[in-house]
């Protein structure tokens, strides 16, 4: 298991490293801290040569990465990489594909004052193009312990099974409970009926996803289904209890092309209210990347 962490030497980068450590701890994953430096161009009236600036930039980048590696506890293997690219998002996706990473982890933003999550431009670009799941650390994420619960936000669209498989894999591998969450924004209508329908739907999919069709649920895969309601999605998210060591998984919108991620409007609204990290899984994301197992242990979040 390898996780690529999009690192920058600011609060956002620290959030990402902390989340990466939390995700890696229960899973024995190794981290690849990637710092993207821009392509340096030669420009201006007076010659401003790129070579020299590139050296200074790389020196500084190496220094930043050394500091970043110091943030990672000794139990988690980590490597640092400098990548060059005009687009941070593009360079990160490339790095993730090249390293055969199972997840890309970044900090959401450092400027959200009132909201926990504001999607920065890099995160937003990533969410639109990544072919691996993207984990977003909320602003100020400082936890460095293994996860305690996996939540999975379930919509009613196709692809829910794959998302649940992925969530279940994460929960089983980490030996933590899985919570399947249905978020409902209700304006008046038949609240109880809608909730019941959502619960049934989620339970059905959960049963299908569980090994042995739910008949013989494995001991470690404790799971529950909850339905949260509110006048808005944001309120529904607020009403749910969240553990500090929890993450929420959601699938990307059906607008996504093929195996890439596109965050739908609902997911965006969830993100605004969510106090815990969010992992966005590309639609049709295949769990096993057997074709590039750069790491020695079992690739992917597949169940073992």
């Amino acid at each position: 298991m390898r996780y690529v962490v999009g690192y920058s030497a600011n609060a956002r980068g620290h959030d990402a490293v902390n989340l990466a450590v939390s995700l890696a701890l229960g899973r024995g994953a190794s981290l690849d801290l990637v710092l993207v430096v821009p392509e340096v161009q030669q420009s201006g009236h007076a010659v401003a040569p790129k070579a020299g600036f590139e050296n200074l930039l790389n020196e500084q980048a190496q220094e930043w990465l050394d500091q970043a590696l110091a943030l990672v506890p000794s139990g988690v293997p980590a490597q640092a990489h400098i990548r060059t690219g005009d687009s941070d998002a593009h360079a990160l996706i490339e790095a993730a594909e090249e390293l055969g990473a199972d997840m890309l982890i970044i900090g959401a933003t450092s400027t959200g004052i009132f909201k926990r999550f504001t999607i920065g431009s890099v995160a937003s670009a990533l969410l639109h193009a990544s072919t691996v799941p993207v984990a977003l650390a909320p602003h100020g994420y400082h936890r460095q312990e293994a996860l305690t619960r996996i939540s999975c936000g379930l919509g009613t669209r196709a692809g829910a099974e794959k998302l649940l498989d992925f969530a279940l894999g994460m929960a089983v591998n980490r030996q933590v409970p899985l919570r399947v969450v249905s978020l409902l924004a209700l304006d008046g209508g038949d609240a109880a009926g809608a909730a019941e329908a959502a619960r049934e739907y989620a339970a059905k999919h959960l049963a299908a996803a569980l090994p042995g069709g739910g008949q013989e649920v494995r001991e470690e895969a404790k799971s529950e289904v909850v339905v949260a309601q509110g006048r808005s999605i944001e309120e529904a998210v607020d009403r749910l209890g969240w553990e500090d060591g929890e993450v929420l998984l959601i699938g990307s919108s059906r607008l996504a092309k093929g195996r890439s991620i596109f965050l739908g409007s609902t997911a965006n609204r969830i993100l605004r209210a969510l106090p815990v990290p969010m992992i966005v899984v590309p639609s049709d994301y295949e769990l096993k990347h057997l074709n590039h197992s750069a790491s020695n242990d079992t690739p992917g979040e597949a169940q073992q």
Binding site: Q42, S43, V47, P49, A78, Q79
Partner: protein, 516 residues
């Protein structure tokens, strides 16, 4: 840059076992980006660095004021020292590629004090050009508003001092912000801007010549071979001033010579690109210069190119009468090229300041790189503040700020290019006579170029003491150009002494050592 290069690049890995980090690769192994720019791309970059529409509108008037109809001759002659210095520049850049350029090279050749002043000259020149670029952009911004709305009064807004200063500061702040964010003009935008500039300058020339042919020119003047004779210039003072101005119009051309790393064929492309760039530039300069002189003459009234009123920004005055309703294209070309240049030029002083901070020649803060945008952070903002301050001072003390800043700028370029060229001669002195190639490129060319430029510098500095020099602004009986030029250099000396006091390592020669 294309994706495949980034893919093939080795990444620099610091492997961590526990907290023991071990460097697997040195940074020097940074992958080369060979193959990214072809000949045309390099020429576009060269032309875009020169920004001919901007340099012509800024320098044509002041040069005519000095040398009259010998404008084409001076434009041609001005290229010679630039070429000679550029050869030396290329040698230094190959031997010591460094963001500090003149600063680093002069320090390595002559030690910390002259090195510091070389760096200061480069920074001062780029700061001055930033303020001039912003001012030109603002002039054409208001002119374009007037042309768009058909209300000529809007064009006069630029003469409203507080409004002009405020708008210019906004332009500088915007360009600084863009540069700080690490955003750079993309290749395709550069292509469009360069193509558009050449097209509009060509249009202007054709329109001017057809006015001459139709007898509708302001002051139709027949082209004479004397225009190409540099010896016909009245005095050595005028010649020196003209040459230092025409150095400015080629400034940026040397970029093409130093682009080894990113060209498809590093052996041949830079040389060909430099040649092709200068051909394009010389053709366009000659055509526009001849067109302007034929159409407007050098008379000192009305549209005449010798009219002091017109000299700050010649196209602002001439584009309308020459191009008619299409003059708005000229405004657009100059506004876009000077705005793009404004933003890209910020990179130069910022990188030099960063480098000086890195080598402990300036306070530590100048060496800061923004963790979020990976651009020189403190240095970029410092450059913007300096450019803004320079503009406010010039604008409030000069009768024609654009004219005087360009003259001071020419002087400053001569100063630091001169130092750089001589640094090349001195640095390579041991190998100067090792072969014909080394003799020419490392010794003769930079020596000649450096001496010419320093002579131009001292001559212009001496002449500019005359209160009537340049636009005729003066303070305390001394010409404003002299005050600006010498003031900036003197300020550099003072700051250098202060730095030597508070951060002496660099000045003891401990950071950048002399010689190889």
């Amino acid at each position: 840059m294309s994706a495949d290069h980034a893919m093939s690049k080795p990444s620099h890995t610091g492997q961590q076992t526990g907290h023991l980090s071990e460097q697997q690769h040195g940074l020097s192994e940074k992958g080369l980006k060979a193959g990214s720019v072809g000949l045309i791309g390099a020429v576009v970059i060269g032309i875009s660095c020169i920004a001919p529409a901007y340099t012509l509108t800024a320098a044509l008037g002041p040069t005519v004021a000095e040398v009259g109809v010998q404008l084409p001759a001076i434009f041609l002659v001005g290229f010679v020292p630039m070429l000679l210095v550029a050869f030396g520049y290329r040698e230094l850049n190959n031997a010591m590629p460094d963001a500090g350029t003149s600063f680093t090279w002069a320090s390595r050749a002559f030690g910390p004090w002259i090195g510091w002043m070389g760096g200061w000259g480069l920074i001062a020149a780029t700061i001055i050009v930033l303020s001039n670029l912003a001012a030109v952009a603002v002039d054409f911004f208001y002119l374009m508003l007037a042309q768009l709305t058909g209300n000529p009064e809007l064009a006069d807004l630029t003469t409203n001092l507080p409004l002009n200063i405020a708008t210019t500061l906004v332009f500088i702040a915007l360009a600084c912000w863009i540069s700080y964010r690490g955003m750079e003009t993309t290749k395709s935008v550069q292509y469009v801007l360069v193509g558009f500039q050449l097209l509009v300058l060509g249009w202007f020339s054709v329109a001017a010549f057809s006015h001459v042919a139709n007898g509708t020119a302001f002051d139709a003047t027949a082209i004479s071979p004397e225009w190409f004779n540099p010896f016909a210039v009245g005095s050595f003072s005028a010649f020196a001033a003209g040459v230092s101005l025409s150095i400015f119009i080629y400034w940026g051309w040397d970029v093409t010579l130093t682009m080894n790393e990113e060209t498809k064929n590093p052996e041949k492309t830079p040389g060909r690109a430099a040649t092709l760039t200068v051909l394009v530039i010389v053709i366009i300069y000659m055509t526009v210069a001849l067109a302007t002189l034929s159409f407007a003459g050098v008379g000192e009234t009305g549209l005449g190119a010798g009219n002091p009123e017109n000299q700050g920004s010649i196209f602002a005055v001439l584009a309308g009468p020459v191009m008619g309703p299409f003059a708005i294209l000229m405004s657009l070309a100059i506004l876009s090229s000077s705005a793009a240049s404004l933003q890209s030029t910020f990179v130069s002083p910022a990188r030099t300041l960063l480098s000086m901070g890195h080598y402990k020649a300036l306070p530590q803060k100048f060496g800061n790189i923004s963790p979020t945008y990976k651009s020189p952070s403190y240095a970029t903002i410092a450059s913007a503040v300096a450019a803004a301050a320079f503009y406010v001072i010039t604008r409030t003390t000069s009768e024609n700020a654009l004219w005087d800043t360009i003259t001071a700028l020419g002087m400053m370029i001569c100063f630091y290019y001169g130092i750089t060229a001589l640094a090349c001669v001195w640095f390579f002195r041991a190998e100067a006579f090792s072969g014909a190639r080394a003799f020419f490129f490392k010794f003769l060319a930079p020596l000649l170029g450096g001496v010419i430029l320093l002579v131009m510098f001292f001559k212009t500095a001496y002449d500019s003491m005359d209160p009537a020099y340049g636009s005729g602004s003066s303070i305390g009986g001394l010409g404003l150009v002299f005050i600006l030029g010498m003031g900036v250099i003197l300020l550099g000396v003072v700051l250098m002494l202060v730095m030597a006091k508070i951060r002496p390592e660099f000045f003891r020669g401990k950071v950048l050592t002399r010689g190889h």
